[in-house]
């Protein structure tokens, strides 16, 4: 059971790799979209500017969508989650994958004019039960570092507050995403990644019948 990490040159993958390896996953960093075919699931990490996702050309989009059609779970982390939306006002000419409705926008800081970026440990509220956040308690803390975020909608799996509510996690079928960094969120983060791996393993077991 191999997890494909999509490296589009934004930031570093070291921490995400370390966390998945710690949980016993086998990782692959495919150089081309065709490489995704070998994996049981796809993870799109990422930090920094939304425009970095421009390197995910239409053939990557198509391969990731084909993976979803073939039953492969997809997890976006941070900018990788924002990319699941239709796009972001950070780089309006740069389309997201569009599997979650809406457009990401810059945090306003709210009436208290909080500092943006939003950096640090914040609590999660769960509007409904999801497989990704299974077993977590309300108000669990996770580590965020970002200036843009996606809107709360039917796909939202967790909401966080920073001057305004925003989508801290999404889940819609096989599409999952977290705005925070599970690889840097201690035991809570490891639990989330472990939930993702269990979901992948269940899918593989079902496929084998």
């Amino acid at each position: 059971m191999t997890i494909a990490l999509v490296d589009y040159g934004a930031g570093n993958l070291t921490s995400v790799k370390k966390a998945f390896l710690h949980l016993g996953a086998t990782l692959d960093v495919p150089a081309t979209p065709a490489g995704l075919e070998r994996a049981a699931a796809v993870v799109v990490p990422g930090v920094g500017h939304f425009s970095a996702t421009r390197t995910l050309t239409p053939d990557w989009h198509a391969a990731i969508r084909r993976g979803l059609d073939a039953g492969r779970p997809l997890l976006g982390i941070c900018v990788g989650m924002q990319w699941l939306y239709e796009g972001s006002t950070e780089a309006p000419d740069c389309p997201g994958l569009g599997v979650i409705p809406g457009t990401c926008a810059r945090l306003t800081g709210g009436v208290d004019r909080l500092k943006v970026p939003h950096v640090g440990w914040n609590t999660l509220r769960f509007p409904r039960a999801t497989s990704l956040l299974d077993g977590l308690q309300q108000d669990s803390s996770v580590y965020f570092t970002h200036s843009f975020a996606g809107p709360v909608n039917g796909a939202t799996a967790a909401v966080a507050e920073y001057g305004e509510p925003f989508a801290a996690a999404v889940e819609d079928g096989l599409v999952m995403g977290v705005q925070f960094h599970p690889e840097k969120s201690g035991d809570t983060g490891l639990q989330i990644l472990s939930n993702f791996l269990r979901r992948v393993a269940d899918g593989v077991a079902m496929e084998r019948g």
Partner: protein, 252 residues
Amino acid sequence: MLARRIIACLDVRDGQVVKGVQFEGLRSAGEPAALARRYNEEGIDELVILDVTATIEKRRALAATVGAVARELFIPLSVGGGIKDEGDAAAAIEAGADKVSLNTAPLADPDLITRLARRYGSQAVIVAIDAKRAGYGYAVYSRSGTTAAERDAVEWAREAESRGAGEILLTSIDRDGTKAGFDCEMTAAVSAAVNIPVIASGGAGTFDHFVDVFTAGRADAALAASIFHYSEHAVADLKTHLQARGIPMRLT
């Protein structure tokens, strides 16, 4: 609600944790990975590994130390001390650091901040400012507090932010190692001048010093070393103390 962060600093020299008093006079406090593990169990929010002698002795932060800590801890980890260029930053990040902390190098080459922010994202770039009171302002020093940089801390923090820094780590040289409390006035002046988080450092001696720096000092995070090194449960006790005084904490 966003919690204020408590950050433990491991000042490392020759693979061992030490803590300097005003950057001089070193006492051994133990093996870095063991201390990091203990802090993590106590609920520390973040760790900084600082190679305290790197700038002077021209040594690079020890990748082995960073790797040993990063292998078992899944909380944010920063590395600083003697990071002079992209190569040093890459070595720290490849060893497992999430952020690099730059002090002396960007004073001579401010564009380094921008280059590293482009490569790794602003969240990975901390500009560390060591400053002491000078007249009505705060004079910045480089090279572990030995060389006057002819810059004011507030103005340099603003420039660092505009060049792409993601956080400011502000150390009061006057207070460092004294246990007399953080320099809240200086911290508040810098915090009010920038829109990025300011981590206050230097002077923590009591739990109430942290209360002060999060209220009067307007700090987003506070960093300390020795207050955590020599007593059991200090991190958990500190967080409980702050939470009880209305400062939001991540309690584990």
